[in-house]
Amino acid sequence: MSESQNLQEKLTLDSAIANFTTEKQVEALVDPMVSELVKAGVSFSPSPIPITNIISGLTQ
């Protein structure tokens, strides 16, 4: 199995999010390479995400 396939197998982050995981659980869930990059401070500067609809739905 290739390394990228291994990484894919290890990641079940959606379920982690759904279960309000703790920081230690996050580190255990992600591949060590990704965890290392996250600790190193890899970040992204995405366009603003469309959360207005979510908020509007909750405030109706």
């Binding site: 990228s4 990484l7 995981t21 996050v26 992600v30 401070g41 995405p46 909750l58």
Partner: protein, 132 residues
């Protein structure tokens, strides 16, 4: 913390956690976890979207680098070189993450008491007055 995470926390996550009755200290733990999860997800999306040979080469390159700064530069350059990786990251933030946040919000509203729902609305309107 980037503006992105600050905005996400302020506008949505903090109100949700506070309305759920989570204390301030635990809120910070959860917010930190969410930030790490989101970055890890975006990082993985980028790596998985690249041709396997490119992602393998990038991972091997990063392993050889000594400092965090060098690793971040290499990663960012690797992602920037790949249209597929760039698009995967954009899709994650614009489509998949909002879907996840919607599921989180629905999970709360499906299980919240009327008082918690009212508190959530109050907190959200305070942080997002334009949506009222």
């Amino acid at each position: 913390m980037s503006n992105f995470f600050a905005e996400l926390e302020q506008k949505l996550l903090n109100p949700l956690f506070q309305a759920a009755g989570i204390d301030a200290q635990q809120c910070q733990v959860l917010l930190s976890s969410w930030e790490k999860i989101i970055i890890a997800e975006a990082t993985m999306k980028a790596i998985k979207a690249m041709p396997q040979a490119d992602s393998q080469a990038l991972i091997e390159q990063i392993k050889t680098l000594a400092t965090n700064e060098e690793k971040i530069v290499a990663f960012n350059e690797g992602v920037a070189k790949s249209d597929a990786a760039t698009q995967a990251v954009e899709k994650y933030f614009q489509e998949e993450l909002p879907e996840t946040l919607t599921r989180l919000a629905n999970c709360f509203t499906d299980n919240a008491t009327p008082e918690q729902k009212a508190r959530l609305k109050e907190l959200l309107l305070h942080q997002n007055p334009q949506t009222g």
